[in-house]
Amino acid sequence: MSKKIYLDNAATTKVRKEVVEEMIKYFDEFYGNPSSQLYELGRKSKEAIEKSRKTIADFINADEKEFYFTGGGSESDNWAIKGVAFANMKKGKHIITTKIEHHAILHTCEYLEKFGFETTYLDVDQYGMIDLEQLKVSIRPDTILISIMYANNEIGTIQPIEQIGEIAHEHGIIFHTDAVQAMGAVKIDVKKQHIDLMSMSAHKVGGPKGIGGMYIRKGVKIDNFIHGGGQERGKRAGTEGVQNIVGFGKAVELINKNFDKHVEALTLKRNKLIEGIKSNIEDVILNGHPTMRLPNNVNFSYKYVEGESILLLLDMEGIAASSGSACTSGSLDPSHVLLATGLDHGTAHGSIRFTLSEEITDEDIEFVVETMKSIIEKLRKISPLNKNNAM
């Protein structure tokens, strides 16, 4: 094993060199607390934060005053759901979301049951798409929030956000979208798309881990989630992770520079990998939508074999990927997302997600296809399941 091929960019991305360079100054040189406006060190930190804020707000077509830094995508999701729920509970206690949300949404909705909230989980079709008609009929007089992810982290399916936003606003319902995976991969325009709240996370776009963002449209009724000091204009307490905020801003600046080219290049690579697998390995199923999918997401189910074994063999060849099997987490159930698209358990267990970055070369892709071909062959030989005796 010589070369390392990192194909798990949906889990997290490498922090880009330029980002690290920018961050480094904020450790032992400009280390002031941005709340301390009465001395220079504090002002420097504050300026850095506001610069980042502007970069990111511009990128999603928001006003600077509508963007807040958080401690990550999960915090943003929790804030959105709990903040809206607790601020609007006099109006109603019904939330609509989908079956394929990230656990930061699903488990938060489940938790709110304790406070008397009810959640409708929308189905998805075989491609992971929600049905707008089902959304419409799920709306009740006491519905206070619709939370639907922009793009799915496992299968990459992109939802019709603008239409969902329209439907929400026709009914006077707050619309939140988890854009943790979509940011940097699709053009987001919070104004045009009728988005009221949006979750973001830096470490999915070449920034550091442990810093996230939240767009809150002016006027949206939402409680604070972390109470305390007056940071983030009184909306999110806690000393700002200045260095991380600087890194987030720089990462977005870099993406913004060549956005269209970047997406185009990724899409080509993605399609090449999809074609390579399809034409070289039998009995595979592409998960997610064929076209409305993230430009870097390749997710296949490989019949008769199990995902973890594949990942371990990939690791030995220096390839990092992820599986649809939650095997390692102690639960034996496969991904709730794959099950929601209608896959049976066995097939879902045999799913592998490759998420590409621009660093991946055509040779890498060929190597991955070859490696997968031999791994799947090897494991199918060990497997008691086969075409005649299918699951």
Binding site: S309, M316, P384, L385
Partner: protein
């Protein structure tokens, strides 16, 4: 997360395959749980002359199958039936807590194959009196 022994047995599993006209065959687990193990036994004079396995499952499932077959090969059926999952785990140098169920599955697969042999030959194997392959097959842990 896995010991070297686990990785060795995962990379180079021993006794992979099936046995035509096996004297006992057992299959446990199901696709829902993500693990299926099938054990084939060739038995002569109550001695396990050969054993093979086929496994659908994660790395530790494959390693557990491989190790378990190694541990009973050449053994008397009365010894083989006493193979515990703990013995498999120990021989593997340990398994992560969430993976211990794989060793349980290996134990059950072997018991299941021995049970099949006992049924076919009308023998009574001590330790299998209360074994019910149907029941085992549906538990997910």
């Amino acid at each position: 997360m896995y010991t070297e022994t686990v990785m060795d047995h995962f990379k180079n599993p021993r006794n992979v395959g099936n046995i035509e006209n096996a004297d006992g065959v057992g299959q446990v687990g199901n696709a829902k749980c993500g693990d299926i193990m099938k054990i084939y036994l060739k038995i002569n004079d109550d001695i396990i002359e050969d054993v093979k396995f086929e496994t659908f499952g994660c790395g530790s499932a494959i390693a557990s199958s491989s190790m378990a077959t190694e541990l009973i090969k050449g053994k008397n059926i009365n010894e083989a039936v006493e193979l515990s999952n703990k013995a498999v785990v120990e021989a593997l140098g340990g398994l992560p807590p969430v993976k211990v169920h794989c060793s349980v599955l290996a134990e059950q697969a072997i018991k299941s194959a021995l049970y099949d042999y006992a049924q076919r030959t009308n023998k009574v194997i001590k330790g299998l009196e209360n074994f019910n392959p149907e029941e085992e097959e549906h538990s997910c842990h």
